[in-house]
Symmetry: C2
Subunit: 339 residues, 2 copies
């Protein structure tokens, strides 16, 4: 085992768009473990849009990431040292190890570390389809949108870790699934590989009106449910196609993460169409995780629930991969493999 | 009984702000009644903001008002001729008689006409606190906001027929009630007569920031529920004070009724604060009316639920009163007494 750990810290807070200068790669001594603790070698680090919000100091749902400390984040890895009776060396685990190669974990605290079974599900999937993004998709779709067979569900960022699961879960419930994604390749994947009924390339639409017209073609019976990951024009366009009593699960608004205004053009449609909007954070609904993970894990193990990963290699490439994620350069779940 | 009826018809659709030219006063023959029908002499006509939406041709929740026909609207009155076993001459009734002195009603159709008891409740109250506005307040507050004791509820257009009931119903449930109204006299009434904890005069606030600051003073523990009648800056300001898991009942957006854009400035707050927004129309929730009317009627009969009326005199003054309502010139429920 090496003597040193490597980690990425938050060096400064971004003004507007973040950049490499906001991150710092540091070497720190490998932590020693005490009673009840384990040392985990992280194999994969999850990069997620919510991390952008934590880089700011302002009010948000997540506590701000502290400066000069390791960036927080979900990880999967392997126990390499243990002083906890609950974990053995070699156990595969999922936790919040952060942007670093090794993490010391208080194994006794509820929810800190969970042993996972990699016989039928790849380890990395526990950061995506069978992890937080998958449960996020499941909660918003099943609990908030609750589509009936024959209804139409639209999801933005459709090729992403959350969006790809939303559409497939909607299809499994007999709904029509329509994606919005950036680029022809992503749209082709969403329809051809994931089985959505249609996918609209928002980058190919010149205006709100054009996007709304494309949605009209893709959703001939209107929109009954929207799983919103993007906000801005995407949200405005879908609202123009919303049916009476439609439901919007507000999961993310990545279009506004750098502080630019993203007004909702026509909130009166909430009233006109008797819509229901609900913002949520999946970590506040832990009671739903077992049911969600059972469906998601079964889907991945059987091959029915498909997903795609973009894997950056090496901790030092995590900032670049994260900045790319914020620009939509990833394709599916963005991971960093820690070598 | 006279030979002629008088009614106000929709003469043309407004472009932007409506005016007198959009209405026409006509004399028509008094209708003859057939089997199962009754003739009602309308005593009071209800004027309501939703009528503005029906003057437009565009998509809204209500079917557009047809041109060259009598303006629709709620009325209370007295049966003056009957060929229905369910109604006797002299019965006091509430229905949708429209902007006219006499209305012929198919008494057998469910929901068309309801006999009311005026021993303890004034006839006109069935158009306000014990009618559609009262049930609107009740449904949005009780079913959508569902305040717990100690929570803070804000309502815009607080001195109006709906808003005044919202705050009083919230107080009865142990919540803090804060109003937003236009003018010092309305605010004084809301606090001194209706018993709200505070009321903010939005006309005295120069900017979104000033209104938000005033809300901070009036809602020291933040806002848990918003009953929205106005939209625009009022909504934006309250959203800046919203607590986690706050609920917004979207009832009206009178600030945008003439077609001007009323964007929501910061929809990301729905996500950040895990808010729930729900648009509703009270006529789609008829199952709640009995429970709501029982509480509202009891409150009015006992004098606990207070309300105020502005009463225009004579059918010919209905358009002027309606135009004034849209500008907030009324104080409490706007009625027209048909002489």
């Amino acid at each position: 085992m090496p003597q040193m750990n490597r980690q990425i810290q938050l060096a400064s807070r971004p003004t507007g768009e973040p950049g490499h200068a906001n991150f710092r790669l540091v070497e720190t001594p490998l932590p020693e473990i005490g009673d009840g603790q384990v040392l985990v070698r992280n194999h994969f680090l999850s990069l997620d849009p919510y991390m952008r919000g934590r880089m700011n100091d302002g009010k948000s749902y997540a506590v701000p990431q502290a400066l000069d400390t390791v960036m927080g984040g979900g990880t999967v890895g392997e126990v390499v040292a243990t002083r906890s009776p609950a974990f053995a060396v070699g156990d595969k685990v999922v936790g919040m190890g952060g942007w670093q190669e090794y993490a010391r974990v208080d194994a006794g605290l509820a929810g800190m570390l969970r042993k996972v079974d990699t016989r039928h599900i790849p380890l990395s999937a526990y950061l995506g389809a069978v992890g937080m993004p998958g449960v996020t998709a499941w909660y918003g779709l099943v609990k908030l949108i609750a589509p009936k067979a024959g209804e139409t569900v639209v999801v933005s960022a459709a090729s992403g870790a959350v969006g790809s699961a939303v559409g497939q879960l909607a299809k499994a419930r007999g709904a029509r699934a329509v994606g919005i994604a950036g680029g022809a390749d992503k749209c082709a994947y969403v329809v051809d590989e994931l089985g959505f009924d249609a996918c609209i390339d928002y980058k190919a639409q010149a205006s709100l009106g054009a996007l709304s017209a494309a949605l009209k073609d893709a959703c001939p019976a209107g929109v009954d449910g929207l799983f919103e990951n993007v906000g801005g024009v995407c949200l405005d366009a879908v609202m123009l196609r919303a049916n009476a009593f439609s439901r919007v699960a507000m999961c993310g608004m990545i279009s506004g993460y750098n502080g630019q205004p993203i007004p909702m053009a026509a909130p009166q449609l909430i009233l006109v169409n008797r819509m229901k909007f609900e913002g949520f954070i999946v970590s506040e609904h832990m009671d739903c995780w077992p049911e969600a993970l059972a469906e998601l894990g079964g889907g991945v193990a059987s091959g029915k629930l498909k997903y795609r990963e973009t894997v950056a290699q090496g901790l030092e490439n995590a900032p670049e991969a994260f900045l790319g994620l914020l620009k939509g350069r990833n394709f599916g779940k963005q991971l960093v493999q820690l070598l």
